[in-house]
């Protein structure tokens, strides 16, 4: 019997008992065993606990209302899972098994999901290529000599290769959307405060959000309906009603009455020709479906990258102070306490994390705070105001998700600034706290995916999902599957 590869299909198959949750779980584990050695998308495969959980679901009688009944989900390795290794791809947390699960993990489990394992990422989510993992890079299923993007590269590759129908990632400056774009899947970064961060290993607390990666906007929306909502354990989670996101999706491709903003002044340089052509074609599709295309200006967006790297590293230097060899994780040999701190951190953290701790500590240090950190916070205000102004005349803003398609492994590791520029179209969204989706919008001549990003007003996640869903249905790009997903066995049970 054919195994469905999307969350809706799996739920339907399990609900009607056409397949059991155990069948699905075994099928997924077989695919991971066959495909992952070439990709390294997974850090941990929790086969035993997943099969036990699937058996539990198969024995349940109150199954009808579980929105993720029997659906396997992979989690980025910076999300705490009780009893399952959680390292954020860092040596400093090697062997750590958290005593509690993140709120999003509990919500997924309450909805009937089966946690399959943990996915590789850049160490502490710091990077744009998943090459900063202490446990080796993940490879792009479309071309294994290329990166999947990052930092949620393992989650994106796992979904792209159809190893799992769903994964969660985290997005601080583009870490869900950019790998989704580079791997040809859907990635969604919710409005800041929409999803609880409790149990997410913090990188930059004013920017981090957890969100889904999926093979369709419909599946991503299903996950949002499960994980969104106020959580008393996260004081920054918004205590506002959650609209019915699934209700907001329509079955049509109709975009009449939707005003789409196009900030063409940002595309003058640094954007690949093929990415630009795919973007222009995508805008044309939305126009044909009735959208009004409106030119908008985001005046301070060119400064978004330096603002982001000052603010994110400053927050990271504070958040990562907790890894000191005392309460969890790695401890280096030392004869005195201070030496133990210095050495544990020096040996436990990788190069990019240390680089960012140094930069973040510097911009917060006496004499530099006003010139860098406070200045960056002021420009952040201007970036927010630009978006507010644009959203007075449009409902969503469309941009390429990434200025290039997937780059080669090793291509950008020597030059940090070059790597940081991968995020030029994504970081502004985090600085302003806005919701944004990346959906597939094309393939290059060498068949590498290209992503289209829709950004909306804060807390207007529903409009972003609706527009992204309508665009997706108007095209066939989401149905393209990488060669790595086709070659291997286990497509049927």
């Amino acid at each position: 019997m054919d195994m469905p590869f999307d969350a809706h299909g799996i739920r339907e198959a399990v609900a009607t008992r056409r397949l059991s949750a155990t069948d699905i779980c075994r099928g997924v584990l077989d695919r991971i065993a066959a495909l992952d050695p070439a990709l390294n998308a997974f850090r941990t495969i929790a086969a035993d606990s997943a099969l036990a959980r699937a058996a539990e679901i198969d024995a349940r009688h109150d199954r009808e209302n579980l929105p993720l009944l029997g659906v396997p989900v992979a989690l980025k390795d910076n999300l705490c899972t009780k009893g399952i290794s959680t390292t954020a791809s860092s040596r400093i947390l090697e062997g750590y098994r958290p005593p509690y699960s993140a709120t999003v993990v509990r919500r997924l489990e309450d909805a009937g999901a089966v946690i399959i394992g943990k996915t590789n990422c850049d160490e502490f989510a710091m990077g744009s290529s998943t090459e900063n993992s202490a446990f080796g890079p993940t490879r792009n299923p479309w071309a294994t000599d290329r990166t999947p993007g990052g930092s949620s590269g393992g989650s994106a590759a796992a979904v792209a290769a159809r190893m799992v129908p769903l994964a969660l990632g985290s997005d601080t400056g583009g870490s869900i959307r950019q790998p989704a774009a580079l791997c040809g899947v859907v990635g969604y970064k919710p409005s800041y405060g929409r999803v609880s961060r409790y149990g997410l290993l913090a990188f930059a607390s004013s920017l981090d959000q957890i969100g889904p990666l999926a093979t369709s906007v419909r599946d991503a929306t299903l996950v949002m309906s499960v994980i969104a909502g106020h959580d008393p354990c996260d004081s920054t989670s918004a205590n506002v009603p959650v609209p019915d996101f699934q209700e907001a999706l329509t079955d049509t491709t109709d975009l009449r009455g939707v005003r789409i903003g196009v900030p063409r002044h940002l595309f003058r340089e640094g954007v690949d020709d093929e990415v630009m052509a795919a973007y222009d074609a995508a805008i044309e599709v939305t126009r044909e479906r009735g959208a009004d295309i409106v030119e908008v200006v985001l005046e301070h967006s060119p400064e978004a990258i330096p603002v982001y790297y000052v603010i994110a590293t400053a927050e990271a230097s504070a958040n990562l102070a907790r890894y000191d060899g005392v309460r969890y994780g790695f401890r280096a040999e030392a004869s005195a306490l201070g030496e133990m701190y210095d050495r544990s951190r020096g040996k436990g953290f990788g190069l990019e994390v240390k680089r960012r701790i140094i930069l973040g500590t510097y911009v917060l240090s006496a004499g530099y705070y006003d010139a860098y950190y406070r200045k960056a916070q002021q420009v952040r205000t201007l970036i927010r105001r630009d978006y507010d102004r644009a959203f007075a005349s449009v409902d969503v803003i469309a941009m390429p998700t990434s200025p290039t398609s997937a780059f080669a492994l090793g291509e950008r590791t020597e030059d940090p600034v070059q790597m940081y520029l991968s995020d030029v179209f994504t970081v502004g969204v985090n600085l302003a706290g806005l919701p944004a989706a990346s959906v597939p919008c094309g393939l290059t001549r060498t068949r590498l995916p290209i992503g289209l990003q829709f950004t909306g007003r804060t807390m207007d996640d529903a409009t972003v999902l609706r527009v992204a869903g309508a665009y997706e249905r108007a095209t066939t790009w989401s149905k393209e599957v990488p060669p790595q997903a086709k070659n291997e066995p286990s497509r049927t049970l």
Binding site: P99, G193, E303, Y309, R327, A334, R345, I358, R380, G433
Partner: protein, 98 residues
């Protein structure tokens, strides 16, 4: 502002961050951070007089009632530690003075 970043700067900041770095890392970071800071200089060109800084994208963090809630049992918290004395309920660390 500084368009150079010396090895001494790296050492000073590394002390603040409690981070042991190798000689190679110090040289590498001095070079790379000079480049990153030169790039970050472009924000200095933006006029920001009178602009309020944004520290957070959402609303100000909500206050909650000061009520004691259940938290992790002590033994579970100690279970992940490199070294602990579960009976005393304490984390163990090397002596403070060498």
């Amino acid at each position: 502002m500084s368009d150079t970043f010396s090895r001494g700067d790296v050492e000073r900041v590394a002390r603040l961050a409690r981070l042991e770095l190798s000689a190679e890392e110090k040289d590498l970071f001095a070079r790379q951070l000079a480049g990153i800071l030169a790039y970050a200089e472009q924000i200095q060109r933006v006029p920001t007089e009178g602009v309020e800084p944004t520290s957070h994208a959402g609303d100000a963090a909500a206050m909650r009632d000061d009520v004691v809630c259940p938290s992790l049992p002590r033994e579970e918290s100690l279970a992940s530690a490199p070294e602990a004395d579960p009976r005393a309920g304490l984390f163990k660390v090397p002596r403070v003075l060498a």
